[in-house]
Symmetry: C2
Subunit: 221 residues, 2 copies
DNA sequence: TATCGAGCGTACCGTACGGTACGGTACTAG
DNA sequence: CTAGTACCGTACCGTACGGTACGCTCGATA
C-alpha cells in the first residue's frame, strides 16, 4: 500500500509559494485534516490528524514542517478543488449575462454555505487574530478575490455590450457580492444553523441577480 | 448563574440573560480582556488577564467561574456599550427616512470596522467551531439581529408613509444589510488591513442607501 | 483593639498538545 | 543477499495554560 507510490512527481522546489500538487497519500492526509475541521474545531491536534490519516506524526512534520504548514497546505488543497476553470467570456446578450451572474451567485452561495467552507473560514479567521502564517490571506485570495476576478470580466463584457452601466467594475462587483451574500456568511461563521437547500440557493441567487440588474442594468435586459 | 455568593450587590434578578451590570472593578477587568483581545488573539490567557487587570486569578474564577464565563461576560459587556437606545419612529418623509437609513449604515459600518469588534468577532467565530457556550449567539443577537430589529420599524414606517414598497421587512432588511456591509466584514475578519476613515464610511453608507432606495423606494423620494 | 472578608500575588498541580526520537516493517536497488 | 528508503506506531519531552491553594494586606465594622 504505502510503497506503491514511486510517483513523487518532481521536487517541490517549483516556486516560492507554489507547493506542488500533493501526492495521493498526501491528499488523503489533507482530507483527514478537513474532516477533523468540520467535526468541531478543537479536535484539530497533530495526534488526531495522524490517527485519522493512519500515518505517523513524524511523517506529518517531515512533509509539512509544523502545524501551521499542515494547515496552510490544507487550505491550499481545498482551494485547488474549488477553483472551477475560468472560461473565456464571449459575446453576451441579456440572457447569457443573467445566466452567468446566476451561475456565479449559485456557486458562491453553495461554497460559503458548505460545512467545509464554514470550518475552514473559522480556522482562518481565528488564525488571523494571532498573526503568523496568514491563512486568512490565502482564503481571501482563493475565495472573495478569486471570484471577483472571474466576475469582473463578465461585468465588463456586459458593459461593452451595452447591457450594464458602471464606472468601476470593482465597486460593481462588491455590490453584487453584498447582494448575494448578505448576512449569510457571518451568521454561519457565528454558529447559526441556517442550512439552505439547493432550491433556496437558486431563489436567493435569482433575487440577487434581479436586484443587481435593477441597479446596474440598461433598459434592454 | 452558578455563583452562590451572597455578594452580588444590587443584583438584577432573573432577566433570563441579563447578567447584572458589572461593578466598576469588574468593568476594568472586562476592559482588560477586550484590550488583550485587540492586541493579538493568542495572548488571551487567564494569567495575562490577571496581570493586565492587576487582580488575582482566583478573583477571576470567583467572579466568572471559568474562562468561558469570563469571555461571555466580556462579550455582553461590550454589547451593552454598543446598544444605542432605540428611539421611537415618528412620521417619516423622504428626507428623514434617508437620514435614518444613513445613520444606521454609518453606525453599523463604524462598529464592524472597529478593532474591538473585529477582535471580538474573531473570538466568537473561533468559539463557534468548538461548541460550548455560544459566544457566537450572543454576538449575533447583539449585532446583526439587534440592528435588524431597529431598522425594520423604520422600513415599515417608510412603507406606511408610501415611501417604500416591499412584502417582507426581514428580506428588505437583509438586502440593506448586504448593500451596506458587502465584503467588508469578512475581509477584516480574515486579516486584511483595510481601514476606512469617517469620510469613506459616510460615502459608503450614502451609496448603500441610494442603492437600497433605488430598489425599494417609491418614486417620490 | 480584634475580627472578618475581599481581593492581590505567587506558587503549585495536572494535563493536553506541539514537536522529537526510535525501533520495526515493507519495499526497492544493486 | 545487503543496504537504503520511506514510513508507521509509540513512547517520550518540555512547556504553556486552565484551574486551585494559600498567605498576605487593607479597609470596614464593632
Amino acid at each position: 500500500m504505502r510503497s506503491s507510490l514511486a510517483e513523487r512527481q518532481e521536487t517541490e522546489e517549483a516556486g516560492a509559494e507554489a507547493p506542488a500538487t500533493p501526492s495521493v497519500r498526501q491528499q488523503a492526509v489533507l482530507d483527514a485534516v478537513l474532516a477533523l475541521m468540520v467535526e468541531g474545531g478543537d479536535q484539530l491536534t497533530m495526534d488526531a490528524v495522524a490517527r485519522r490519516a493512519s500515518c505517523s506524526k513524524e511523517t506529518l512534520y517531515k512533509w509539512y514542517g509544523d502545524r501551521d504548514g499542515l494547515l496552510t497546505a490544507t487550505v491550499r488543497w481545498q482551494a485547488s478543488r474549488v477553483h472551477a476553470g475560468r472560461e473565456a467570456v464571449q459575446a453576451l446578450d441579456g440572457t447569457s449575462l443573467r445566466e452567468h451572474l446566476q451561475d456565479f451567485a449559485v456557486s458562491w452561495l453553495t461554497v460559503i454555505t458548505s460545512r467545509t467552507s464554514v470550518a475552514l473560514n473559522r480556522i482562518a479567521v481565528a488564525h488571523a487574530g494571532s498573526r503568523k502564517s496568514n491563512l486568512g490571506g490565502i482564503v481571501l485570495a482563493n475565495g472573495r478575490f478569486a471570484i471577483g476576478e472571474r466576475v469582473k470580466p463578465v461585468l465588463e463584457a456586459g458593459r461593452a455590450a451595452g447591457l450594464l452601466a458602471f464606472a468601476d467594475s470593482e465597486a460593481a462587483f462588491r455590490t453584487f457580492f453584498g447582494l448575494v451574500g448578505r448576512d449569510i456568511q457571518i451568521r454561519l461563521l457565528l454558529g447559526e444553523a441556517l442550512d439552505l437547500d439547493a432550491d433556496e440557493i437558486q431563489r436567493d441567487a435569482g433575487r440577487a441577480v434581479d436586484q443587481f440588474l435593477a441597479l446596474y442594468g440598461q433598459a434592454n435586459t
